[in-house]
Symmetry: none
């Protein structure tokens, strides 16, 4: 098991080899997920539960707010399986949950759940009505004040329909997006996604400033984490953004905010880590998104796939379903720099499915 360098040099991730990580899971609901067939990250009609269940499963290996673990209609198991498997094999020193607008609070004790008084956001096709400036500032403050005994932080996301809101956000901010954004589907439901994004963009006014734009077309996870990234620079916190095009969009928002205020960022202690399924995805282009940033960014992709597994549900990943989420790409990179082999990771994931 190894990782590929998408942008930058190997040095940042190599430096983190053997070091201790705190895993932060940003959990959020956008009602965009209620648009039929827009996401397969969960049970149809109950996608709002997915972040809650992911948090429960990651922390406890139990799904408490629903009898069964979230599966897509095709039976693609949540990538939380991967992130959890690695936690069992080489535990993160600490897992903490960020409630960035959950409808249902995860039923877990002891684990810290940060409450930011953020509500789940409306669907972007009807104007998401997010108090964007307020959420951004909460992210800034959290980043400025965040303290850890660990050497670095892996920050991940679980937000169904998040690739749609990410795509809308990037497009609204004027970035080149055509064919760059990923989907949890193999055959991406582009009609539904594009229709949603176009409807979202129709709500924009020419005079909207960046926070008005984010308010209408984005999601809490993106806005909060853009703040977190900027805020955490005061302490030079080493941060791995664990995710694909959604985490890339967080960086685009950072970029746009910096542009709007003529600001700068020292991005040397930041990296994005994703999966092979995103890195090799023909329907998206993570690298092209990241190359639009005005600052340099280290980006890596795990080379893990399910070629050692015969499990049909897992094979769907290699066929292009699911691809990323719950920080599984970052978790896989973490596994690599902590000496885990593809064999043991594969076996552990399989053990969850029976």
């Amino acid at each position: 098991m190894n990782f590929e360098t998408i942008l930058g040099k190997v040095d940042f991730l190599e430096f983190l080899r053997g070091k201790r990580a705190t895993f932060l899971l940003s959990c959020s609901v956008t009602k965009t997920c209620e648009i039929p067939n827009i996401s397969q990250a969960g049970i149809p009609g109950k996608l709002y539960l997915t972040p809650t269940l992911d948090a429960e499963f990651l922390c406890t290996k139990e799904v408490r707010s629903l009898p069964d673990i979230a599966q897509t209609p095709k039976g693609v198991p949540t990538p939380a399986l991967i992130t959890r498997a690695i936690h069992e094999l080489k535990p993160y020193s600490n897992i903490e949950i960020l409630n960035l607008g959950l409808d249902v609070i995860p039923q877990i004790d002891y684990f810290k759940i940060y409450n930011f008084d953020i509500n789940s956001s409306e669907s972007i096709d009807k104007n998401a009505k997010i108090p964007a400036m307020e959420i951004f500032q909460k992210g800034i403050e959290f980043g400025q004040n965040f303290e850890t005994k660990d050497d670095y932080v892996i920050i991940a996301e679980t937000i169904p329909a998040g690739t749609t809101t990410a795509n809308a956000t990037a497009k609204a901010l004027g970035y080149k997006c055509e064919g760059y954004f990923s989907s949890s589907f193999k055959n991406s439901p582009n009609d539904i996604k594009n229709e949603t994004i176009n409807k979202a963009l129709e709500n924009l006014d020419t005079n909207d400033d960046i926070f008005e734009i984010l308010s209408k077309v984005s999601d809490n996870m993106i806005i909060f984490n853009a703040g977190f990234i900027l805020g955490s620079r005061v302490n030079d916190l080493k941060v791995i953004l664990a995710g694909g095009t959604q985490m890339a969009c967080v960086l685009l928002v950072v970029n746009s905010i910096l542009q709007s205020m003529d600001g700068e960022i020292d991005s040397s202690n930041l990296a994005l880590c994703t999966t092979k399924w995103i890195n090799k995805d023909k329907d998206s282009n993570l690298k092209a998104i990241l190359e639009q940033l005005d600052f340099p960014i280290n980006a890596y992709a795990s080379d893990f796939d399910f070629s050692l597994s015969n499990h049909p549900a897992l094979k769907l990943y290699d066929e292009g379903e699911a691809k990323e989420g719950v920080g599984c790409g970052g978790a896989l990179c973490y596994a690599t720099i902590n000496g885990l082999s593809k064999e043991v990771v594969t076996k552990k994931i399989e053990s969850f499915l029976g």
Copy 2:
């Protein structure tokens, strides 16, 4: 995979089982390496690059200051392969580089490279002209002030022709050396080495004090690390000297300095860890060197060899080439007390060679 106790008891190394280690790599150049055929630790004519390349490879698995990784004329690959393989399987928490007189600075980001303003030293056959007292004091200060979050420190060396300067140093200080010192060659070029050592000793005056002696016939690595060992006693830092006869010579220098000032050392938190190739070497005698110390010392040797490998370049180790360097003996002992098997270590090393 296991280790053998050369001197002392198993307890020190057993106590470190499962604990976290910082790996310090002392990198230095002595122009003694420019004497033809004196060392096979690198590319002839470019041996001054070996410590630079070893540091780069250990940290990043890339050789940046030269297109190919240092190989000896016979094709013996650098022991950095072993030390790196173990870092990939069970990472050291931290790697830091000590620049004790490099001609070329390693091209690595994030990893700490300590700069002590030390120049590479002259060849000992022409008087090495080392500011020995100054370098020793830099070592003392570094040892006194060194802080780590880890449980112990593995300190290693990479300095081509270092066994020759170690042998000269020990002989100049009056220790019994005949047949005790190792070489990176299987058929040790004793004529060249002895000629060099004898020339070096000719530069000594009867009235030379210990630092004048070291100034003429030693190397920066030995002098600095003697200071480091003494300085780090104020904090009772647990230190593994990872190496063979060169690290034994560091202890001889500590011993001689203590003798010269009627000093004492609590050596209970020190150990030397080396390879089987050194431990079983018929042309050297590590134990006999260490038995000349006035203080007790724990010394261990890994039992790792390449009996599970068919790779011709690696088999050369079992035939007596290379033997030790870049802390590979310490790394192998670390591998043992962290549960790695001979099989996985062998396979990982082989994976680097293709």
